[in-house]
């Protein structure tokens, strides 16, 4: 019964979304106030209906209603409650419903908090949001109905893929989708602005909190996914340039460019057409990501069982949205001409370089990701593009970008002083070079590129702090005066400092992991030891294991170095319901590096019991994800900037963002 209510709510939501799409857009075209005002109630109603549908599905999962196909296929009575709930989006149907829910909630939030938006802009943006809602709700109803009943009901379910029964992955999809779908708001506002032909500082200020919220969630989602792959898949790596990973990286790169270019629109009223284009591209790449993941057209380590008919439906949505919005852009963008002028060396110029390099990097990733598809459709053979391609084409635009990051915030708007910027940063540069030389001296036998990388990471971090110190004139004016400046600095200035500092931390982790990682694969008898990166690792015992819904064996490894001794446990789990095996990694995390041990297969023909074991020492690896956390923190901080609050139009807006985040978490 509850499921039927959910199904019915979903069907109603399509109708409401249709109204939300049609009436306000017509109203805006005809100048009919009453029609435009319908945007708000319809958007709220759509959000409420999709929420009811989602809760109904969650209810079916939590109560283990195996007469619902999705529940029967992906759940089981013995599953822990957390995974019963995360099972809702651990399958195709439910995850698409989550997609639609987040879309509707973002639309609803715009309606709810946008009381002071100009009516025409709001009507158009919510109308576009409604169009997106219609497409995805129809997609769910026609190809992926999560409320499909089974008759007769199964006595019990098939259980969720054990790899997904993990706290990290329980929250990864909502965060990632929050990011993907959150960019739909920037997209809808961009389309609304294109129709209206007006993009100005106020527009940029209205859109910014939504873009920031989406970016923060996408950053966290990608980091969480990467960390999950690191500790759950047992390969010891953190990024594989897999199509599905690339699918999430591309909107992040272009979204980061969008965050920076919209500052230029807001402060200087320049780069307007470009910013609109970026908003369109960011959401288009999010849709492309959804398509790549959901259609299974690319071989990916992350691919799950898929149905080609669904792929074609999403492809149709993709073509309509991207084609339609780009056509509209081509038609209307010329009317956005002009804007503030600026010299090449200026804050605007720096942000433009940032944009060009970020989009170039995203373009390179796009080419590498789609190239196999293009070749295959031309019958030119099946290929895959390997990591060396991505490392090279991604690295080349990234290095100048990272080198230039500390200059950006120091340059003045309109006309900057390159020499002055260099003079103001020479201490930071000196410190970075010092770190580089020390690293070189400490690792004289190691790769010299690594020392350069560490130097680059310190340049980013010191540069971020230095820029902050410059702003508060630390040690140049009396401390009390600096303190006043510290307190007076805007939240978005702190956001930028944290964001750029976080990039430095992530680079630090990447360099450490790339340059100094050590690995051994070996056969260990009980009691045998191996040396790895100064640690002694001993296989102490292998014991039987009985977990909540799995059995297996657990290898106890003793790790010692000097006086430190610690036991690490790597498990082989066999999940009772599916019989699917998984491997749990034994991990010792320290700021300097991770010791990572994996128990492999037992040796079949040896005299004494022995196991294959794989061990890694991953230097500095946790900074990769901590850096992403710091970046996301910076983004979150920017959300609390005064300018989103001060004055009537922004009053309600500042509150929206924690709301939007709370919804998806």
């Amino acid at each position: 019964m509850i499921s039927e209510i959910g199904h019915f709510a979903l069907a109603l939501a399509v109708m409401v979304a249709l109204l939300q799409a049609a009436l306000p857009l017509i109203g805006a075209a005809k100048g009919n106030r009453a029609l435009m005002e319908l945007a708000v109630p319809t958007a709220l109603a759509q959000a409420l209906l999709v929420l009811i549908a989602f809760l109904a599905l969650m209810y079916a999962f939590v109560t283990s209603d195996f007469s619902v196909e999705a529940v029967a296929h992906y759940s089981h009575t013995t599953k822990p409650l957390l995974y019963k709930i995360s099972g809702v989006w651990g399958n195709h149907e439910g995850s698409m419903l989550l997609w639609a829910l987040i879309l509707a909630l973002f639309g609803g939030s715009v309606a709810f908090f946008g009381k002071n938006l100009p009516l025409v802009l709001k009507a158009r943006a919510l109308g576009v949001q409604g169009l997106l809602g219609v497409s995805f709700l129809l997609f769910i109803l026609f190809t992926s109905n999560p409320f499909q009943r089974l008759f007769p009901a199964w006595p019990n379910g098939n259980d969720l893929n054990p790899l997904l029964q993990d706290p990290g992955l329980a929250f990864h999809p909502p965060l990632l989708y929050g990011g993907y779908v959150g960019f739909s708001v920037a997209f809808s506002f961009a389309i609304a602005a294109l129709i209206g032909g007006k993009v100005d500082a106020a527009w940029a200020r209205w859109v910014r909190p939504w873009t920031l919220a989406a970016w923060v969630m996408l950053t966290l989602g990608i980091a969480l996914g990467s960390y999950w792959a690191y500790y759950e898949l047992g390969w010891g790596g953190w990024w594989f340039w897999d199509p599905v990973e690339n699918a999430s990286l591309m909107p992040w790169l272009v979204g980061t460019a969008l965050l920076h270019s919209s500052i230029v629109v807001e402060k200087r009223n320049a780069l307007r057409a470009w910013t609109i284009l970026l908003a369109i591209l960011t959401f288009s790449l999010s849709l492309l990501g959804t398509f790549l993941v959901r259609s299974g057209v690319l071989t990916s380590v992350h691919a799950f069982a898929v149905d080609p008919a669904r792929g074609i439906f999403i492809l149709a949505i993709l073509i309509l949205v991207i084609g339609g919005s780009l056509a509209l852009f081509a038609w209307r963008a010329p009317s956005l001409k002009g804007g503030g002028l600026f010299a090449p060396v200026s804050r605007e110029g720096a942000l433009l370089i940032n944009n060009v390099l970020l989009t170039a990097a995203a373009g390179m990733v796009l080419v590498g990701t789609l190239y196999p598809l293009v070749l295959e459709s031309l019958n030119a053979g099946k290929i895959s593009v390997g990591a060396p391609y991505f490392n090279m084409t991604f690295g080349v635009p990234m290095i100048p970008l990272l080198l230039l990051v500390p200059f950006g915030p120091i340059l003045a708007w309109k006309r900057g002083d390159a020499l002055g910027a260099v003079q103001r940063l020479y201490v930071a540069a000196g410190l970075a070079v010092l770190v580089l030389l020390v690293t070189l001296a400490l690792t004289f036998d190691g790769p010299w590129l690594a020392a350069l990388g560490i130097g680059l990471a310190s340049w980013l971090m010191v540069g971020a702090i230095w820029e902050w110190a410059e702003r508060v004139r630390l040690f140049r004016v009396p401390l009390a005066q600096s303190w006043r400046r510290i307190r007076g600095l805007s939240a978005s200035a702190y956001g930028a400092t944290f964001g750029h500092f976080g990039v430095g931390l992530t680079v630090l982790g990447i360099v450490g992991m790339t340059a100094w990682r050590t690995e051994i694969i070996t056969v260990l008898e009980l009691g045998e030891s191996r040396e790895l990166a100064g640690f002694t690792v001993t296989l102490k015992s292998v014991e039987d294991l009985a977990g909540y819904n799995y059995d297996g064996e657990s290898g106890i490894f003793e790790v010692s170095k000097g006086r430190m001794t610690q036991n690490l446990q790597s498990e082989h789990r066999i999940y009772r319901v599916t019989g699917q095996p998984t491997t749990e990694v034994g991990l010792r995390t320290t700021p300097l590096g991770d010791l990572y041990v994996v128990l492999g297969d037992p040796q079949e023909n040896s005299e004494r019991p022995a196991w294959v074991a794989r061990m890694y020492y991953n230097p500095l690896v946790s900074w990769i994800w901590l850096g992403a956390l710091v970046m996301a923190f910076g983004g979150g901080l920017s959300l609390f900037d005064r300018r989103f609050r001060v004055g009537a139009p922004q009053k309600a807006r500042a509150k929206t963002v924690p709301e939007a985040q709370g919804v998806s978490a």
Binding site: V301, V385, P388, Y389, M392, T578, Q580
Partner: protein
Amino acid sequence: MTRKQRRTTFVVSGVTVLAVATLLILSAMRDSIVYFHSPTEVAAASFKIEDTIRIGGLVATDSVQRGGGETIFFSVTDMEATIPVEFTGILPDLFREGQGVVVEGTLDGSGTFIAKSVLAKHDENYMPPEVADALKKSGAWEEYQDGTMDTSDGPTARSKSDGES
């Protein structure tokens, strides 16, 4: 800077970036493209030893030999041809005899494939598209779908055992 000059700068820098990007893509692609082949194609054609390729097929039944230390031996088959594979490391959790697998590596002189990586899948029901294609080409796809396939050299038939309800 006038509007016209700015536009020129913009266009020139855009074209430069595009040109650099294209060059970069072309040169990086050359070394990173890995072609996919079915076991039949690998058996028929000759490959240079330094060519990295991918082979997709099913893991032949009774072909997996562990116990020789860290190195594992198994064969990949599309029911037409069978290629012996050598892999040093830990196999993915879902590696099973009779199931689809994609291996990436190089052929040695004797026709053994030295795998650098064995592609894991996350889901029992998932079949890598390359493997499905290889089986379709060799005509073994229908059999695999029916669950009547015999991937061993011996007489015992083996059904698709996992994940199907």
